[in-house]
Symmetry: C2
Subunit: 371 residues, 2 copies
Amino acid sequence: MAESTAKPPAKNSAKTSAKSRRGGRASKSGTKSPKLGMTESGKRVTSYDVARVAGVSQSAVSRCFKPGASVSKKMRDKVMTVAKELGFQPNAIARSLITRRSNMVAVIINNLTNLNYPELLVQLSRRFDERHVHVLLFTLEHESDVDKMLDQVWQYQVDGVISAARLSEEQVSFFEERGVPLVFYNRSFQDFPVSAICCNQEEGERLLVNKLHGAGHRNFAVISGPADSVVSNQRTQGALNRLKELGVTKVPVEEGDYGYDSGRIAFRHLMSKRKPPDAILCANDVMAIGCMDAARHEFGLKIPEDVSVVGFDGTSTGAWASYRLTTIDQPLEIMAEAAVNMLMERVENPELPPEKRTFSGVFLEGESAQL
Amino acid sequence: MAESTAKPPAKNSAKTSAKSRRGGRASKSGTKSPKLGMTESGKRVTSYDVARVAGVSQSAVSRCFKPGASVSKKMRDKVMTVAKELGFQPNAIARSLITRRSNMVAVIINNLTNLNYPELLVQLSRRFDERHVHVLLFTLEHESDVDKMLDQVWQYQVDGVISAARLSEEQVSFFEERGVPLVFYNRSFQDFPVSAICCNQEEGERLLVNKLHGAGHRNFAVISGPADSVVSNQRTQGALNRLKELGVTKVPVEEGDYGYDSGRIAFRHLMSKRKPPDAILCANDVMAIGCMDAARHEFGLKIPEDVSVVGFDGTSTGAWASYRLTTIDQPLEIMAEAAVNMLMERVENPELPPEKRTFSGVFLEGESAQL
DNA sequence: ATATCCACTGAATCCTAATTCAAGCAACCC
DNA sequence: GGGTTGCTTGAATTAGGATTCAGTGGATAT
């Protein structure tokens, strides 16, 4: 059984065709190659090597590694034994070339913004891994790098893309032209159809406003994220719109950058106004936390007695005992799952029309606001 | 000049060899392909397509995309014009296959532990991107998945690997056998040579102990990370060793899991002891924060008056006004830079012997400890 | 005018697994 | 037994860019 060795060099007799290239003799029985996964000549073990040693054709080896292929048990055992012996692993690169499926997806994020992107990344990766799909990571430093980055994305023949970074309509249509499925994460267009997974920022913000307004607050302020953040704008606008509906106007808006310090600074600015707010809507949790710290430590205010602060995101830090932040929890895991599903559906079936799935955030009552 | 069209189908006359495969006629001048980057037949544009339209050989096209290759300006212009016109991008997969360089590196992390891994990831990605190397992400859920994951790593022919996850010596030697450079991040072996970038956990912890001891603390406790975390063990042992040297023994150790809640729980346990500690060394910042919150909010203690708490990591959260944690700052960016450099050096020159670079943490004085 | 050199260029080949197609073979049916 | 069906198997081909090697043509040197 284990004599997978003897079998003479097969029958490629006549012409010394392309098949007879790999010089080395079949490894002498028992004399293991010095290094696992390497031929004597120091190259990676290929399916041809396995075929030669096992005395079968390369096609057979290939088939043995394809689940569901038509191979006899005897053949499969023989090949698998040799493969293990030589440390053969199919070359995913070569496979991708011929199948036109790389089993890689690109995930694009711009590090600047949202602090929970790294967490998103881990969530996505886990779920793709389960499907034997791998994440090729692209991080964006500056908006200007987008085109160069996209070139790289094309070159790597990824099967699909998840983007948590902003892309222009033109850039998006390149994806369509090239037939590469794209799913946006918390981003989409007004009148340009794209697939996207979103959290309903506006709705969540309106909910917060309702609660605060219902509790008697009339003196609002908003701390927004960076002006070029789509999510921030949605949140900020959601809040302002609802406030307006409720008859609250002249709401001061301070621009932050999603960071802790910017929350503190924004709070200081708000306090320097003629009529400081008693309810502050922050575009994310971290700024809300900065806000609270400034209120308490710089102004000696009590929260929520003196001022109510609410955030958005539902980060774990917001739940820490020092903050107990009232916020909207963005269902990160569910959204990650949905994004992966949506993308893979489109990889399998590129004809699917664009679809947008919007998840509602979950109100998370803490103790940072009087409600 | 722009009549890059006419030029008859070159001179591959006689045998209809492999070269004449691509069926389509040269695109009629001016009649742009409907989709950028696609041929009329809906396939991706290849270097052959560009060659055909430009009336040159495929070799020429290839050379034009290789910086420093011997090509005349005229040729380069002609090819580049057509390439742009057709939306051609070289196929990185095909290139990898022939060059045996994928320009991809694997980054392995296990999500469970260290909360700053996501941040590390972003740092690494940025730096690799600068070198036109791409990060293929592998996240580990359970230790048991390692082997399956490593198989995937081999299959994708990555040029190198950075691992922030624990690997067995056997697994590490596979890397060596296969000639894939491996750099550990905050992990290494006692008597098994590997390349690694580390923060000197022990030293940092000793420094903290010295400071606390010097300030008169004698009643210590340690909150460790998970038992199977190498980093946690180094930190914990570093602290205990130094304490022993200073004559402090019988130091209670509570095991946490690096999470906020585990810090709180550990603190409760410590307070239930006959003689509660007045100085607590936590294996990371997040647990230290949990500890502080428990002390303040559950036991009404003052920090640092009633109890000193120190952490390790230097996360941004530790600096928040509510905590002002005294800790050791692990130089994440410097370490990321070093890891990328070390890996790429080894990719260029696989003969380099294993090397370990150890960075000292920086003492960060907050207000969570009486020093 | 002939020789020498250099910068380019193209044909052929390589990399490695998947797939197609036809052949081989055994079991099965009537 | 001859024909048929169905399962296996191998040879040849494919994917698409890089590289080698043998030119080709022009410029300079003799």
